[in-house]
Symmetry: C2
Subunit: 430 residues, 2 copies
Amino acid sequence: MTSPLKLGVAGLGTVGAGVVSLLRANADLITARAGRPIEVVAVSARDRGRDRGVSLDGLAWHDDPVELATAPGLDAVVEVMGGSEGPARALVEASLAAGRPVVTANKALLATHGVALARLVEKTGATLAYEAAVAGGIPAIKALREGLAANRITRVAGILNGTCNYILTEMRVKGLPFATVLKTAQELGYAEADPGFDIDGVDAAHKLAILAALAFGRPVDLDALHIEGIRHVSALDIALAGELGYRIKLLGIASQEKGGVTARVHPCMVPEASPLAAVEGVFNAVLAEGDAVGRVVLQGRGAGAGPTASAVVADIIDLARGRTAPLWGAASETLDASPALPMAAHRGAYYLRLMVLDQPGVIADVTAVLRDARISLESMLQRGRAPGEAVPVVLVTHECEEAQMSQALTRLAGLPTVVEPPAMIRIEAL
Amino acid sequence: MTSPLKLGVAGLGTVGAGVVSLLRANADLITARAGRPIEVVAVSARDRGRDRGVSLDGLAWHDDPVELATAPGLDAVVEVMGGSEGPARALVEASLAAGRPVVTANKALLATHGVALARLVEKTGATLAYEAAVAGGIPAIKALREGLAANRITRVAGILNGTCNYILTEMRVKGLPFATVLKTAQELGYAEADPGFDIDGVDAAHKLAILAALAFGRPVDLDALHIEGIRHVSALDIALAGELGYRIKLLGIASQEKGGVTARVHPCMVPEASPLAAVEGVFNAVLAEGDAVGRVVLQGRGAGAGPTASAVVADIIDLARGRTAPLWGAASETLDASPALPMAAHRGAYYLRLMVLDQPGVIADVTAVLRDARISLESMLQRGRAPGEAVPVVLVTHECEEAQMSQALTRLAGLPTVVEPPAMIRIEAL
């Protein structure tokens, strides 16, 4: 047996404790698969006294995580503190600068500093592995970067946030409003007390930026991403989507278009027969389309101690075996520099739901707005009758440009007979 | 730029020509991802004159593929001839013996000679890569062997044969009998003129043996596999499955049980909400359950020039990057030797469909047989009324042992009022 791979683990929250536990629980097979034993020898966390369900006996304790970058006797560092700045960033940069490999689950760090990190690892030759940063236990990074490496990827998409997918699933199955389901999700621990990072789409955007960088060989500027969350998705729209044969999912989608790359996170209607429609609850999915392989879809648990630790330890086993890849799949000098396209240039079909006064002439006004914006209708559905009161009108459009739709939405919202801001959800034939 | 990786390709059928085409079409990004150019410099095939849609100008031609094992100037060999014996086996063994790495799509070879090949690569240190052997373009080998390497896998299952899945899908969607759909599949090139290898489950069994070897660290003896094909699946059973909320799929399933490993290929009824139920047509899927990650499902195209070449070239890029893994995920000395369990020990629920004479007392006879075999019923469904003629009776059982079911089937087939051999399909809650 060769010498063990010695690790320092920074962060002992759910994920960090999960990594330590998994390395111990499956030590026999991990040793066999890694070709050598893997040992945690040092740790760093905020509170030394807290019971985390794992024994820290015999492990060196560092109050300052950045010490793990250069502490003697370590072969690699596991960074599971999180955050794009502060000690996580300092530790990762210091480790890589010292030539020490890092395994991280830190999506914000990768999404925010992807270009600089690629240059750093190329300079020092140290590996930065981040399978756990996207879609938890699903080996999506490995699939895209290695498994589909022969392909020109044309599109990558996914259900990348389990909190949002849980909320949308519960809203659909139980017919409940967003706020009620969010509250339950918080009680169950599926949503944070401050849920904005998840439900406003920021977390999914970080993950999409990473997938897009891998798919298109080009770190995507987070500022160029169009990001919408799920706060405005109503139980009524979910029910109407079902009647039309769709399910509403928060998707991250990046695609290679003629003039550049588009990357966007927003609620979508996907056909019920789509492989993404069947991915429910806290599960995640990643879809990739390549010129040789066609469409590949991976699904599994996107969060939680076990799935995330599974991904972190897979990276550690790769390190032990000497399996590495360039941070974004290819040397940064070869990375494409095609520009990010604005959301206004997006083309697609749209679902619109208006609350209108049930009176003669309303439909004529609405359809005139769409005609003026050169948007053609695929179908229209008026529900219920309540003369003089508000009733929903659903419009499904043929493909048009986002810029046309924005213009139409502004005018529709201004019609005197439209009594609520229009609901708009993009339709994706994924 | 470092020196190119020089390849000899043995076999220029659909897959071989696809590999040569893909390496040329995506040479720019493959070079960037591999870190060096990849060049086919020698080929071997049966007929030198045949037009394969790819230029062979400038390539060395070998009439005998085994020459590629030692021909000078090659860094690796791509074996895409197929077959567990003959020139394919001779080439792979000679290459590995000479220390020359091999990339293959040969499932029969891996499934039949897995243990001997593992010993050979350990002796010589040469890599044998086989991503394309299972599920075409889906990076299932990489996912199991590397992506989920931290997990104790408890079960692996999949839709592993696109021909069967196409036939079952068409039968369901169009309500057509097996023979009619098979004929169409043959005309479309989805089934061979001699379709037995696919429709009798042999091809799926080879792939399952490979997945099981990876999942449980233990090559599975093909003779220990229970193999049933889809010839006996009727359009009536497919329709009745739909009424019960199931779809019929040919699955390969291997699982770790208390006393050993079970591995079996047979038609299954899976719940319509199962991620496997939605995998239709020529698509394949691989499902794995690990103790840390939970359930992961991968789906994509399981055959064809593009998807298979995608997997072969991914292996070539791994070779160029120096990424390797032990053949079955761990050194063969560490491989588990838990025994294969017989099918008689399988436990599960069953669907039975009997054609019985519509006369008093029949149901009492049938249920008495089940009672005597200690099999309890979950539900029973009698369709149609035609006094004195044959009508279908459907029985869904609770979980019981295969041995009990076999005993009951023999007795049911012998009842004078049961006018056709009973149809039995196992139910899998996957």
